[in-house]
C-alpha cells in the first residue's frame, strides 16, 4: 500500500518539517540581509544621517534625501491613526458592552470583508469617492484650493483600511476581560459607563496600545492605495491638503527606472530596508505590550 515503511515515512515527514521550519524561521533574517546587502552601496557612500534627513531628492545627480518621503509617510500614518483610533475604541466598546451577541454576528463578517478588500480596490474607491469629496467639499469648506490628491485623502483611505485590523484586536481584548471585574465594579454602585471608563479601560490599556501599534505599522507600509491618492509630489507638505509622497509609493513608482540610474536601485532597496526596520520595530515593541496584557489578564 505504501512505498516506504512506517519508520522511513516518519523520517521523510520529519525532514520535510524541519526544512520548512528552518526556511520560515530564517525568513526575516534573509529579508533583512538581502535588502541590507543591496542597499550597502548607498549606506557605504553616504552618511546615514544625510540620507534620512536631507531634503534633496535628485537621483540623476546622485542626491538621495529620504526626508520628504519619511515625513510624508508619518503624516499619512498619523492622520489615519487619528481618525481610526477613536472610531475603533468606541465601536469595540459598543459591540462588546452594549449590544447583544447577535450584533457581533453581523459585525464580524463586515469586518472580515473590510479586511479582505484588496488595497488597489481601496485606492480605486479613494479616487472615485474620497478625492472628489476633498476637492469639491472639504477643501472649499476650509477655503483651500486642492486637487484632492493629497495627504488627507491618503490618510482617510488608509484609516478605513486599518480599521478592521485594529477593531479585531480591540474586540478580542474587551471580550477577554474577566466578567468578575465588571460585576465587582457594578455591585459597588458604579454605572455602566463608569465601569467602562475606570475599570475596563484601565485593564485594557496595554492591549489598546498594542492594537494601535499594529495598526500604525500596517499603515506605514501600505502601498497601493496610498500611491493612488497621495499625489506623488516630492515636497515637504505644509498642510494636509498638499500632495505628498510616501516611502512605499517611492519604491512602487520607480522600479521601472531603477536600473538605469546609478545607485538608484540601492536607494530604493534602502527605502524598503527602512520600511522593514520600522515594521519589525513596532511589532517587537507591541508584542511586549500584548504579553504584558496577557499576563495582567491571567
Amino acid at each position: 500500500m505504501y512505498l516506504l515503511n512506517r519508520i522511513q515515512r516518519h523520517r521523510v515527514n520529519y525532514t520535510w518539517m524541519i526544512v520548512s521550519l528552518v526556511l520560515v524561521a530564517s525568513l526575516p533574517f534573509l529579508l533583512f540581509l538581502g535588502l541590507y546587502l543591496k542597499s550597502f552601496l548607498l549606506i557605504h557612500d553616504y552618511h546615514l544621517g544625510d540620507l534620512l534627513f536631507s531634503k534633496e531628492w535628485k537621483p540623476g545627480s546622485g542626491k538621495f534625501g529620504f526626508y520628504p518621503f519619511i515625513v510624508g509617510s508619518i503624516w499619512v500614518t498619523l492622520i489615519a491613526m487619528l481618525i481610526s483610533g477613536p472610531i475603533c475604541i468606541l465601536t469595540a466598546i459598543y459591540v462588546t458592552q452594549y449590544t447583544k451577541k447577535r450584533f457581533l454576528r453581523i459585525m464580524h463578517p463586515a469586518i472580515d470583508i473590510l479586511a479582505g478588500i484588496p488595497s488597489v480596490v481601496y485606492g480605486l474607491w479613494g479616487i472615485l469617492v474620497i478625492v472628489p469629496f476633498i476637492s469639491d467639499f472639504v477643501g472649499p469648506l476650509f477655503g483651500v484650493k486642492t486637487l484632492g490628491y493629497s495627504i488627507l485623502a491618503a490618510g482617510l483611505v488608509l484609516s478605513i483600511m486599518i480599521i478592521p485590523f485594529i477593531l479585531n484586536i480591540l474586540i478580542e481584548i474587551f471580550r477577554t476581560i474577566p466578567i468578575e471585574l465588571k460585576e465587582a465594579s457594578l455591585s459597588l454602585g458604579a454605572t455602566q459607563w463608569e465601569t467602562i471608563k475606570h475599570v475596563l479601560f484601565k485593564k485594557a490599556l496595554p492591549g489598546i496600545i498594542a492594537a494601535f501599534g499594529f495598526g500604525l505599522a500596517r499603515a506605514f507600509g501600505e502601498t497601493m492605495a496610498v500611491l493612488m491618492v497621495v499625489g506623488n509630489v516630492v515636497n515637504l507638505p505644509k498642510s494636509v491638503f498638499d500632495p505628498g509622497y510616501t516611502l512605499p509609493a517611492l519604491i512602487a513608482n520607480n522600479y521601472g527606472e531603477m536600473l538605469s540610474i546609478p545607485k538608484y536601485d540601492s536607494a530604493l532597496m534602502f527605502a524598503a530596508l527602512i520600511l522593514l526596520a520600522v515594521s519589525l520595530f513596532f511589532n517587537l515593541v507591541m508584542h511586549f505590550f500584548i504579553d504584558r496584557y496577557n499576563k495582567l489578564a491571567a
Binding site: 465601536t91 500596517r218 507600509g221
Partner: protein, 285 residues
C-alpha cells in the same frame, strides 16, 4: 452630579452608535461604488477576451489575461505555501508542544513576518531576481507571493491546531502511532475545516496583493503559458488601466475591480460555509 453622569454616558453612547454604524455605512458605500461602476462596465467581451490591438486607446478586448494570470499565480502560491506551511504548523503543535519557549519564539517570529509590508517582499523578490538573473515571470511572482502569504497560512493553521485536545494525542500514542502519523493523519483530520479556512484566507490575500507582484510578475497582454514568462494580474490591471486618460480603459479598470472583489467575496463566503460543513471526522471531547 447624578445628571452630569447620565449626560456623559448618553453622550458617549451616541458617539459609539455613530462610530459603529459609520463603519457599516462606509462598507456599504464601498461595495455600492464598486458594484455600480463595475456592472456598468461589465460585458462578456471584457471577461472572455485578451487585449487586442489598440486596447489601451479604448479599442476592443478584455481582461482575461489578468483573470487567468491572477488565478494561476494565486493557486501556485497557495499550493507552495501550503506545502511549506502545513508541516511547520504541525511541527509546532506535535513535536514542539512540550517546549513552550521554543513555540513562543517561533510564533513570535511568524507574527513579526506577518507584519512586514508586502512592498518589502516585492523589493526583496526583485533583488533576488537580479542576483539570480531571472526575468519578471510567473515563477518569480509566485515565489514572492508564497513568501508573503506563508506567515498568514501558518499562523491561521496554528491557531486551529492549538485547539486539538491533549487527550487525542494520548489516545493515538497509546495505540502505537508515532509523532508524524499523529501529525499528518490525526491532527489534520481533526482540524480539516480550519485548515481549509487558512488556505482560503491565504488565497484571498495572495490574489489581492499588488505591491509584491509589481516588480516580480511583470505584465503582459498574453495568456500565461510558461512559468518563465511574465504574467498579468488583476490588481495590476486595475492600477494600470485606472491611470489611463481614456474613459473606456478606465471603465475596464472598474470591471477588473468588480471581478477581483467578487473573487474575494466568494472566497470568504466559501470559507465561512466550509468551516461549518466539515465536522464529520471531528472527535468531540
Amino acid at each position: 452630579m447624578k445628571r452630569s453622569k447620565k449626560i456623559e454616558e448618553s453622550f458617549f453612547k451616541v458617539l459609539m452608535v455613530i462610530a459603529t454604524y459609520s463603519i457599516l455605512a462606509v462598507l456599504a458605500l464601498i461595495m455600492y461604488s464598486i458594484f455600480a461602476k463595475g456592472i456598468k462596465a461589465m460585458s462578456w467581451e471584457v471577461l472572455t477576451t485578451v487585449p487586442s490591438g489598440g486596447y489601451y486607446y479604448g479599442k476592443g478586448g478584455g481582461i482575461l489575461n489578468a483573470i487567468l494570470g491572477s488565478l494561476s499565480l494565486a493557486f501556485g502560491a497557495t499550493l507552495l505555501a501550503f506545502l511549506i506551511g502545513l508541516p511547520v504548523a504541525l511541527y509546532i503543535n506535535v513535536f514542539l508542544v512540550r517546549y513552550k519557549n521554543a513555540v513562543r519564539m517561533i510564533r513570535f517570529i511568524l507574527d513579526l513576518v506577518w507584519g512586514i509590508p508586502s512592498i518589502v517582499y516585492g523589493a526583496f523578490g526583485f533583488s533576488m531576481m537580479i542576483l539570480l538573473g531571472i526575468q519578471t515571470s510567473l515563477l518569480a511572482g509566485t515565489i514572492t507571493v508564497t513568501l508573503f502569504i506563508l506567515p498568514i497560512m501558518i499562523r491561521s493553521m496554528d491557531e486551529i491546531l492549538r485547539t486539538v485536545p491533549i487527550g487525542l494525542s494520548e489516545a493515538a500514542y497509546s495505540l502505537g502511532s508515532n509523532k508524524s502519523e499523529l501529525a499528518f493523519k490525526i491532527f489534520t483530520r481533526q482540524t480539516i475545516s480550519g485548515i481549509i479556512t487558512a488556505i482560503l484566507l491565504s488565497f484571498g490575500r495572495g490574489i489581492g496583493d499588488a505591491a509584491s507582484v509589481l516588480f516580480t510578475a511583470g505584465y503582459t497582454d498574453n495568456l500565461p503559458n510558461s512559468l518563465m514568462e511574465p504574467v498579468a494580474t488583476l490588481p495590476l490591471s486595475i492600477f494600470f488601466q485606472l491611470s489611463s486618460p481614456v474613459p473606456a480603459v478606465q471603465d475596464r479598470a472598474y470591471a477588473s475591480a468588480l471581478v477581483l472583489t467578487l473573487i474575494i467575496l466568494l472566497v470568504s463566503l466559501f470559507s465561512r460555509g466550509l468551516g461549518k460543513r466539515y465536522h464529520k471526522t471531528k472527535i468531540n471531547f
